[in-house]
């Protein structure tokens, strides 16, 4: 078996031949310390993705990579339009799971004394956790509009403001939604869940800007030291999960129909241009738009809560990024401009100033790249660099990445002691289930700073600010 080799301090190569059938090598972007945390199963998954037809350059894993299903979490791969594929295994069940950052005009010193009340109020205002139903009751017609127009629909309905759209990836709605490809079952799951945070690693967090690394860019992003920010992490809820489940079935059959050899059933896929591929893409876009509307509504309710306790306060959107999605993008490949389907699964777009997709507000600078930490650790704001285009098709990591299983976490921690430890650090936590707090203990994730340093040192994105949690509301 071919051996993994070190390319530089932050890059390792998984050579062709590491596993049978690889068409391109794999690239894992980690430091030596993080390399030791990458499980062999994760490397196998990087190699498996390299088997897929039409893959360009490398099957990649970001510094937060860990074991997933199909693609690893933190996996990035681009496929040529002419001979490539699209795979729900490269997007995930939670389509357009993503992160949104709001900046306030409030100083931490004013907010901190009321953090308990504020977190309680946010926990009340934003439905979360298993079994929770939403505050919204959308009609079937409205749901159709959500799938087509995403955040645009939300703004038209009075959730958020027009300026939010110009500070959101894809302006909060991707073109190409195909309602006909969304099953009745997906609609049934999605309808009552619009405007809910969900559970697991999803959260709403009140943070303080602790450190600024790049003053000029921080200024352009509207960030300053001591400022209060709000981060929202959630996705497309049952709608997205069901859309992925439905199309996985179709694509499982497509693999046989088109005679594609896949090493993992979760990598079921269809050739680009086939009806199965088009249908999945159209349905995936519907889920992506649902997720943007969902985060938009949650941000609106967050603003309402802040207005109650801090009248006149302003919460402006810094940015909103998708980290589970496939996008049609043009990239330079061997000196030629090519249209590619870039899959990012647990990976964030990190476009630099040269890309036209970067919103007007950030043109000439690069997009804000939002990397949340775990419950008790720092989150980071970075700025996308053009260098990322050559290295990772303009992609960065999406978080810290898990290193410990849930069952292991439950053996080591209890919800109560996790909460107490966070309280000692001045972090207030509110969650629906104590066991969930134990499973999401800060220690189960890689150190977020180490992960972010790899992205920074490789030149994928530059560190702009570090945010520390003050209060967390979890599902």
């Amino acid at each position: 078996m071919a051996e993994i080799s070190k390319i530089n301090d932050n890059t390792y190569e998984v050579p062709i031949g590491y596993r049978p059938g690889m068409r391109v090598p794999g690239r894992i972007f980690v430091s030596a310390a993080l390399r030791d945390m990458v499980e062999s199963g994760t490397i196998d998954q990087v190699a498996n993705v390299a088997n897929l037809p039409g893959i360009v350059n490398y099957s990649m894993a970001m510094p937060d990579a860990h074991l997933g299903y199909g693609f690893p979490i933190g996996g990035v791969a681009a496929f040529r339009e002419e001979d490539g594929i699209i795979s729900p295994g490269g997007v995930g069940f939670d389509i357009n799971c993503g992160v949104r950052l709001l900046r306030t005009d409030l100083q931490a010193t004013n907010v901190q004394p009321r953090i308990n009340t504020l977190i309680d109020a946010l926990f009340e205002a934003i439905p979360s956790g298993l079994g929770a139903t939403g505050r919204l009751h959308v009609s079937d017609q409205q749901l159709t509009e959500v799938f087509t127009n995403g955040s645009q629909w939300a703004v038209e309905e009075g959730y958020g403001v027009e300026a939010d759209l110009s500070h959101c990836e894809e302006s909060g709605h991707m073109p190409g939604a195909d309602q006909a490809q969304v099953s009745v079952r997906a609609r049934k799951r999605g309808r009552p869940q619009l405007g809910t945070l969900g559970s697991g690693n999803h959260f709403l967090e009140i943070q303080r800007v602790e450190e600024i690394y790049d003053e000029p860019v921080a200024k352009k992003f509207g960030l300053f030291k001591g400022q209060i920010t709000v981060m929202i992490h959630c996705g497309s809820r049952g709608a997205g999960h069901q859309i992925c489940t439905d199309h996985l079935e179709v694509l499982t059959r497509a693999v046989k129909k088109y005679n594609i050899d896949i090493p993992d059933k979760q990598l079921a896929c269809a050739p680009l241009g086939s009806p199965e591929a088009d249908n999945y893409f159209g349905a995936m876009v519907c889920a992506a738009n649902y997720a943007w509307a969902n985060r938009h509504i949650i941000a609106h309710w967050t603003r309402e809560v802040f207005e109650r306790y801090f009248p006149g306060s302003k919460l402006d959107l810094v940015y909103d990024v998708a980290h589970n999605v496939a996008k049609i993008e043009e990239h330079q490949v061997d000196g030629k401009r090519e249209r590619l389907y870039v899959h990012r699964k647990g990976a964030t777009r990190a476009f630099g100033p040269s890309r036209s997709e970067v919103q007007v507000a950030y043109q000439g600078i690069g997009q804000p790249v939002l990397i949340p930490g775990s419950m008790g650790t720092s989150s980071y704001v970075l700025c996308g660099n053009d260098r990322a285009l050559d290295l990772t098709f303009g992609s960065a990591c999406h978080g810290a990445g898990r290193v410990m299983s849930r069952s292991q976490a439950l053996k080591l921690f209890t919800g109560q002691n996790v909460k107490a430890a966070l309280n000692r650090d001045g972090i207030v936590v509110k969650a629906t289930s104590p066991s969930m707090l134990a499973e999401e203990a800060p220690q189960v994730y890689k150190p977020s700073g180490d992960v972010v340093d790899v992205v920074h040192n490789l030149g994928i994105a530059t560190k702009v600010a570090r945010l520390v949690p003050l209060g967390v509301s979890k599902g």
């Binding site: 199909g70 559970s199 992925c244 069952s407």
Partner: protein
């Protein structure tokens, strides 16, 4: 024979469920899936739900069955504790599953929720028959 066991997995939930028959294995798999979501001791059987599914083979049927339980949980706002499964051959080309699920509507005061299962993955999903039937499942949470 233990009905099911959870295995180590960094990010998601992995389990194996066993049965002397395929039907018993599917019943135990449903119980393993649901135990990862809600503590079964907190559920009282007050209502029943009927499920009928058809697939080309046992593996596809098993996958559909577990997906159906997640779907019913969310759309019926109900939690389940008993899973009675019957399998029958449907002609030469397909198999049919007929099941009765017992449970009740969600009561947030009483039911102790654990993980939110987003979906059943196809990753390393498989059924084997050695001394007993065994299914391996990884849940996306």
């Amino acid at each position: 024979m233990i009905p099911f066991e959870y295995l180590e997995h960094t990010a998601d939930i992995k389990f194996r469920a066993y049965g002397k028959t395929p039907a018993e294995m599917l019943s135990n798999a449903a119980a393993a899936l649901f135990k990862s979501m809600v503590e079964p001791a907190t559920i009282v059987v007050k209502e029943t739900w009927k499920v009928e599914l058809k697939a080309f083979d046992l593996e596809d049927l098993a996958y559909q069955w577990l997906c159906e339980i997640v779907f019913l949980f969310e759309t019926e706002s109900a939690v389940f504790a008993t899973f009675s499964v019957n399998l029958e051959q449907d002609g030469t080309e397909s198999m049919r599953l007929l099941a009765e699920i017992g449970g009740e509507r969600i009561d947030l005061e009483r039911h102790a929720f654990e993980n939110e299962v987003k979906a059943i993955t196809r990753h390393k999903f498989g059924i084997k028959k050695n001394e007993v039937w065994c299914i391996q499942v990884i849940l996306d949470v």
